[in-house]
């Protein structure tokens, strides 16, 4: 395990909803629609609240009482973005390392 404290991971196409990969304890495939919707709602809200009226999300990080949720949209040649989602344990997870790790993986994906 390269990402310490990682509980689940999911790769989903934001526009089409197709799940490319899923792992971990929870039924992440079933939660893919909700994750897409939360990313969409966040992007819309940020666009409306930002001074420029536009938003380009690099990472979406949510800290709950039990864990970290890390979401990273990556642009693809068409459709997309491809969204990488990792859920981390609050005690064992290292948000900074997870974020670096995710950035490193996705950095090798987009041309």
């Amino acid at each position: 395990m390269d990402i310490p404290g990682a509980l689940d991971a999911l790769v989903v196409d934001h526009l089409s909803g197709t799940v490319f990969a899923a792992s971990g304890a929870a039924d992440l495939e079933g939660s893919a629609p909700a994750l897409r919707e939360s990313l969409r709602a966040t992007m819309d809200a940020l666009a409306q609240s930002s001074p420029t009226g536009a938003a380009r999300v690099e990472d979406l990080i949510v800290v709950t009482d039990v864990g970290y949720h890390l979401m990273r949209p990556v642009e693809m040649p068409f459709a997309g973005p491809l969204v990488f989602y990792v859920r981390l344990d609050l005690a064992q997870g290292d948000l900074t390392r997870a974020r670096d790790s995710l950035r490193e993986i996705t950095g090798r994906m987009s041309g």
Partner: protein, 350 residues
């Protein structure tokens, strides 16, 4: 004749390797019973989409190529799987697609994913009324301020009053499904003009057309079951393959072939692949091989579900938004007759 979905399920069960040409519809490639590529006459090709977006296949990373192949194949599957065979298919054993090595799909997973896409379309906007007509932006936005996404923006600025969602998909280099879903979402938000309702009683929803022209304008029903298909009708084998390679394909829709387990699609190559992330967290690849196993249990129920009653479901609470024209309530003290009466009354009091 049988549906193509039934044919492919039979080929999967036989672990067929080769290509099968589906006249007037498209072409499928299989390797060991798994689909390696699909081409549909109703959806843009991988090359066309990349060209429209100013990219070339050579310029893609491995992960991007995987993403594009999956997107292209699923888009084609949405139209191919439910289509009826219009002529005898031609099977060429051993023929491979140039990008057939990129990803392998279990037929059961394709069927399940197409069913999920259909239900997402219906949930987003339960009407097919905009699927085949020119995309027309609303004359006025639904509110004083609206937020649009990237693809919504592209659709709005390329909508010329002629192009249908399928035309826009070709023009924008996007899968038809993606454009169709976005158009439906925009309709739900009130960003698009809906076609004038026909006068008189509304005709019942049309059955999906099979013709090439309209095929691209709607997501067909992937959940059709096949009745009375004659096995000998289904395939004509070209070359050396035995006819038994493609028989036994009737009534197989509810039997998902999950026997081919294991993830071959994402062999660890130099570059990072989407599923590598999953493996880093001790996980497994879901699409497509793992998913097929689940389709064994859940896919049959999904596949047997009928076409959602488009047009009969309630709209998503948007219809009541607009009230009638605003008529300001008259101020009685501005009415000349009232004013005159008040003046008279005051003068009497003096």
């Amino acid at each position: 004749m049988a549906a193509i979905q039934t044919l492919l399920t039979g080929l999967a069960r036989e672990r067929a390797s080769g290509s099968i040409s589906l006249a007037g519809t498209g072409k499928a490639y299989l390797d060991g019973g798994r689909v390696t590529f699909l081409e549909s006459d109703g959806t843009p090709s991988l090359e066309d989409m990349l060209t429209a977006r100013g990219r070339t296949i050579d310029g893609l990373t491995r992960a991007e190529l995987q993403f594009c192949v999956v997107g292209t194949v699923l888009d084609a599957a949405g139209f191919l799987l439910s289509a009826e065979l219009s002529a005898r298919p031609r099977f060429r054993p051993g023929e491979r697609h140039p990008y057939g090595e990129v990803w392998a799909f279990e037929v059961a997973w394709l069927i399940r994913e197409c069913a999920r896409r259909r239900s997402e379309l219906a949930q987003t906007w339960p009407s097919t009324e905009l699927d085949g007509v020119p995309v027309t932006p609303a004359h006025r936005p639904p509110g004083q301020r609206v937020t649009v996404g990237e693809l919504e923006w592209e659709i709005l600025i390329h909508a010329d009053g002629v192009a249908t969602p399928a035309d826009l998909a070709v023009r924008l280099g996007q899968p038809v499904y993606t454009v169709l879903l976005t158009v439906r979402r925009m309709a739900a938000l009130g960003l698009l003009t809906r076609p004038e309702p026909a006068s008189g009683p509304q005709p019942p929803p049309e059955e999906p057309h099979r013709s090439k022209k309209t095929a691209a304008s709607r997501m067909p029903d992937v959940a059709e079951t096949v009745d009375g298909a004659d096995v000998s009708d289904v395939a004509e084998v070209v070359g050396e393959a035995d006819i038994s390679d493609v028989v036994e394909m009737v009534d197989v829709v509810e039997v998902a072939d999950a026997s081919a387990a294991g993830a071959t699609a994402l062999a660890g190559l130099g570059e990072e692949a989407p599923a590598d992330l999953a493996s880093r967290t001790g996980g497994r690849e879901t699409a497509p091989s793992e998913a097929a196993a689940r389709a064994d249990a859940g896919g049959a129920a999904t596949a047997g579900r009928g076409r959602p009653p488009y047009g009969e479901l309630p709209r998503r609470g948007r219809s009541a938004r607009r009230e009638g024209p605003h008529v300001p309530r008259a101020n009685p003290m501005r009415d000349p007759e009232v004013l005159a009466a008040v003046k008279q009354g005051l003068e009497r009091l003096r």
